[in-house]
């Protein structure tokens, strides 16, 4: 399915480009990001939690950035998997100067498989767009000096080393009461929504 949209960020394209390709920034601005680990140049592994209404869960994602043309465009390839589903996506990001700020446009081509595809394409794309919007807003706030993290645990989540740090509790403001998930993933219902950073989501459908 195709998902496209735009966002306005109040910083010049150079700053936005740098931020989008900086793992430290991503860990702070991706809603639901539990951990992020660099595994190579322009390649990252992350654990992100996501949920909307009766659909919730977490997933393991991998992201690669390529076709860098500073400061105007890059391609992000992402793959994510959670218990009942997988996503592969390729997103083109373009940045254009817009007065003092940047007009960002994204164009994603995604394939969704597994049980998560069962919620219907429009639910998936609707959630994805909503999440993208939240991510870009968080990015905008961060770049203007508001370092409140959008993700549950920011600083300690970032590691450049080979091991991943798992965090035992989410930030209280992010936690909702519902279903606990078995297995090694946390399940949170994040009111802040879902991250779409080229990686769409693997939902665990709650039972």
């Amino acid at each position: 399915m195709k998902i496209a949209g735009t966002a306005s960020i109040g910083q010049p394209p150079e700053r936005v480009f740098a931020a989008l390709t900086d793992p430290a920034v991503l860990a702070r601005t991706l809603p639901g990001c539990l951990s992020l680990q660099q595994i190579g140049p322009d390649a990252y592994k992350m654990v992100i939690t996501a949920g909307v209404a009766s659909i919730k869960g977490s997933y393991l994602g991998q992201v690669e950035i390529s076709n860098r043309v500073e400061p105007s465009s890059f391609t992000m390839r992402a793959a994510g998997s959670g218990a009942p589903g997988t996503i592969q996506a390729e997103i083109q990001i373009k940045l254009v100067s817009d007065g003092e700020g940047t007009l960002l446009s994204y164009d994603a081509d995604a394939a969704v498989g597994g049980v998560i595809a069962g919620v219907g394409q429009r639910v998936l794309s609707g959630v994805a767009k909503k999440t993208a919007g939240e991510f870009f807003k968080a990015m905008d706030r961060y770049l203007s000096g508001d370092f409140t993290s959008a993700s549950p645990i920011a600083d300690s989540a970032i590691s450049a080393g080979p091991s991943m740090q798992h965090l035992s509790t989410p930030a209280p403001s992010q936690r909702l009461s519902s279903v606990q998930q078995n297995g090694s993933y946390f399940s949170l219902i994040s009111g802040a929504g879902i991250a779409l950073v080229g990686v769409i989501v693997g939902w665990l459908i709650s039972r």
Binding site: V52, A53, S54, A117, V119, G120, R122, V123, G126
Partner: protein, 803 residues
């Protein structure tokens, strides 16, 4: 002696369960399943520009939201066009969820699945669809005008154009001494059973099997459609029709979008899913029927004998032709009724409009045809100054003419040949029952006291028991229980009783031991469905044949056991005995044991069938060509339909001041051959008559010019209550059908067929001017009176009809 059951008014075996609220209708099933709700088009014609579900995503209990883009494989293809026909050159069907265009108010666009129906509807309410409304085509005139199209690729909105003729009717009319022409109009109504549609599906991912229930008239049809659309082997799909709260034709259409989407969702989500229709949904997304405009030209001699009949009509088939052109074909052929015009020409155009699709509703095109024919008969009678019964009997096919070949093709693709019927005798009985000859005096007396009364008459012939076939399975268990099954379905026709009566009689067992299952593909997989007044004829005969096979096998085995000739044996109350010698007997259930040679005995009775108990080692335990068990499966597939007939008469009173119409007396004479259960047949007639009265005086679908259905509720679509249906007197004639072993004909639709023709005839008689459009309300009658007074409508020639 065995209690006779065939032909007896045996009380229904279905009732004890139903009257205590233990029926299992579709919505009673599926506790705990997800439920679906649909977003349906609010426009009669529009292009879908965008569907925005973002506001619905966060709704509590939401499981999924689906549009056409989510459909895959064959589910994304158009719905099947069930009955193709060479003349249906412009046949079109829709998609389970609208792809780009919607063509009637009510067409399904989005399916929402949620934890329950309340939550699903909440989510539907949050979905925003952006439409580009298009100018709709509503009504036959607009369709014929052709300047706007329902389907861009169907010119002039003509789905089909068909002509059938016998002889040169136009020439015959031109050269007749007398000619008349009539324009007639019947408005749209619908089946409106008290229970709407519903579907419940369970997907078993371990075995890859779909278990499906639908409130349908054809579980075998739904099964086949679902298997095809979901790309499953037929063996992996089973469909059951549970208790069904009425069908009347609307539930023979299949697959409804929901019948595909609900199992599709169940498989996608790996969770049971259910949907039941609410009343508004039924009005705007099921099916309607009846709208036709007829133009009749007739030529006749001075005795009223029709020498040429030329009928051309326009049929409104709604937005899609899922059921093909069966309805107008039935109109074309059944219009002839019990008459034999010398030449006949019938032409119809089946037209698209941006309204709900049109598929058979009890009568299925016959009411319209009968209206045309019977209004013509009355008009001829009036023109010549002869009585209305006389003009009809002049044109009757006589018993000695049978079988009578009309030289037309009927709705089953087979020749329209009436096999039997005695129309003169029916008319005589009818006249007696309504006191036809005494009416003139009654009318005269009534006039003296300021009352306006009129008498009407209408006749029809109904092709019943249409093929291709039905099957029956009869099995005697070792307990003595007799299992019977057939693949077609039940919606209140008493099949569990009537079919049990057949078997009880054929096999000589108590009816309490006979248990009938219908409409379950697990129990009988080869079937067509319940429609066209065919269940008794088709399944009744198939079951009788199967029962006879069982009987003859039982007698053969009993003959061996009792060491006598099977021809000397009879079966009474489950006991096979030598005729006249009850001491020399063996139980039918023992024969069931003996018919299945066993290695293992699991109770006392089965011991008798084990290897060391049975003696004869000179032949194999199961001889060549035989099967174990006392059971048989047989089929009935007739060469053609068998033709039932009937005549109705009624006396109505119209109020001189308020134009209110009241039915004072209603008489039915009915001939459907042998009756299995007269009580059940009468019940069918009563129900049909009520629908006929409804169609004559109350029921019409009100579409405005924007294609909006203005009366999509029971408050505004008027169905008759007990106070609107008169007391119905019924007389029966039985001319046996020569076309099936039981000699029966169908009865299901009979009651409704002549309703509009009859009431129009009676009102005309009361008022003294032509009635050409039905239904008629008091205010419409009032307006006609004014038009008549001002000369817009001619008086009948004979102001006081000679009776």
């Amino acid at each position: 002696m065995t209690t006779r059951t065939f032909g007896e008014p045996v009380l229904r075996r279905e009732d004890p369960r139903l009257v205590v609220g233990k029926g299992r209708y579709l919505d009673d099933l599926g506790h705990g399943s997800y439920e679906a709700a649909f977003l349906r088009s609010p426009h009669a014609s529009a292009r879908i520009v965008d569907i925005d579900v973002s506001a619905a995503i966060g709704m509590p209990g939401l499981i999924g939201i689906y549009t056409y883009d989510d459909l895959d494989g064959r589910v994304a293809e158009p719905l099947p066009l069930l009955i193709p026909h060479p003349n249906l050159t412009g046949g079109r069907t829709g998609y389970p969820l609208a792809k780009e265009f919607v063509r009637h108010v009510g067409e399904s666009i989005v399916m929402v699945v949620a934890e329950n129906r309340y939550l699903a509807e909440d989510a539907v309410g949050m979905i925003e669809v952006l439409y580009e409304p298009l100018p709709p085509v509503v009504g036959i005139a607009a369709a014929l005008a052709g300047d706007r199209l329902v389907h861009a690729d169907v010119p002039e909105n003509i789905a089909a154009h068909m002509v059938q003729e016998v002889g040169d009717a136009r020439a015959a009319i031109a050269s007749s001494k007398n000619q008349l022409s009539l324009d007639l109009h019947i408005e749209r109504s619908a089946s409106t059973p008290l229970e709407g549609k519903g579907v419940y599906a369970i997907w078993d991912s371990d075995s890859g099997e779909m278990r499906l229930w639908s409130s349908t008239q054809t579980s075998t049809g739904v099964r086949a459609a679902v298997a095809a659309k979901l790309d499953l082997p037929l063996q992996k799909v089973e469909c059951t029709a549970p208790d069904v709260g009425g069908g009347f034709g609307v539930k023979i259409v299949h697959p409804w979008p929901e019948e595909i989407l609900i199992p599709w969702a169940a498989r996608l989500l790996n969770h049971p899913v259910k949907w039941t229709e609410d009343r508004r949904e039924h009005f705007i997304s099921s099916a309607h029927e009846r709208t036709q405009l007829h133009h009749v030209e007739v030529g006749f001699d001075d005795s009223g004998r029709i020498l040429g009949l030329d009928v051309s009509f326009s049929h409104d088939n709604g937005a899609y032709t899922n059921y093909g052109i069966i309805v107008p074909i039935i109109t074309s052929t059944q219009l002839l009724g019990p008459y034999k015009p010398v030449t006949y020409r019938v032409e119809f155009k089946s037209l698209y409009t941006n309204t709900v699709l049109v598929t058979p509703y009890r009568g299925a095109g016959r009411p319209q045809g009968v209206f045309a024919m019977e209004r013509t008969m009355d008009a001829i009678a009036d023109f010549l100054g002869i009585t209305r019964d006389k003009v009809r009997s002049t044109n009757f096919i006589r018993p000695e003419d049978m079988p009578y070949d009309h030289q037309l093709i009927f709705q089953d693709g087979r020749p329209l040949i009436y096999d039997s019927g005695d129309y003169p005798a029916s008319l005589e009985m009818l006249k007696q029952m309504i006191d036809w000859d005494g009416f003139k005096e009654f009318q005269h007396e009534a006039r003296k006291s300021g009352r306006q009364v009129g008498i009407g008459i209408a006749c029809y012939v109904e092709g019943t028991g249409v093929g291709p076939y039905e099957g029956g399975f009869v099995q005697v268990e070792t307990s003595g229980r007799v299992n019977v099954s057939t693949g077609l379905t039940s919606q209140g026709q008493g099949h569990q009783t009537a079919f049990a009566q057949i078997v009880a009689e054929e096999l000589g067992v108590p009816i309490e031991d006979v248990f009938v299952t219908t409409g379950d593909t697990r129990r009988f997989a080869y079937a067509v469905g319940t429609f066209a007044s065919r269940a008794a004829v088709m399944s009744g005969n198939a079951i009788a044949l199967a029962a006879r096979n069982v009987r003859s096998k039982a007698l053969r085995i009993a003959g061996d056991a009792l060491e006598c000739d099977p021809r000397d044996l009879e079966i009474i109350d489950g006991s096979i005995q030598v005729k006249g010698d009850p001491t020399h007997s063996i139980q039918l259930k023992t024969i069931a044991v003996l018919s299945n040679p066993l290695r293992y005995a699991f109770d006392e009775s089965t011991k008798a069938a084990t290897q060391f108990a049975t003696g004869d080692t000179s032949k194999p335990p199961i001889p060549d060509g035989e099967e174990p068990g006392l059971e048989s499966r047989d089929y009935f597939s007739p060469m053609q339909s068998t033709f039932a007939s009937g005549m109705h008469a009624a006396i109505v009173e119209t109020d001189p001041d308020t134009a209110e119409i009241k039915i004072l007396k209603y008489v039915v004479v009915h001939d459907c051959g042998r009756l299995i259960n007269p009580m059940i047949v009468e019940g069918q007639i009563h129900g049909g008559v009520a629908q006929g009265v409804g169609g004559a005086l109350y029921e019409r679908m009100e579409y405005d010019e924007g294609g909006q259905l203005l009366n999509a509720s029971f408050m505004d679509f008027l169905m008759p209550y007990a106070t609107e249906v008169p007391f119905i007197e019924t007389g029966h004639l039985e001319t046996l059908s020569p076309l099936n072993p039981l000699g029966i004909k169908g009865a299901g639709e009979a009651g409704v067929i002549p309703g509009s023709a009859l009431i129009a005839s009676a009102i005309e008689d009361a008022e003294g001017f032509q009635i050409r459009k039905m239904p008629i309300s008091p205010s419409e009658l009032w307006q006609l009176r004014i038009d008549h007074q001002s000369g817009l409508i001619p008086s009948l020639k004979a102001k006081e009809i000679q009776v």
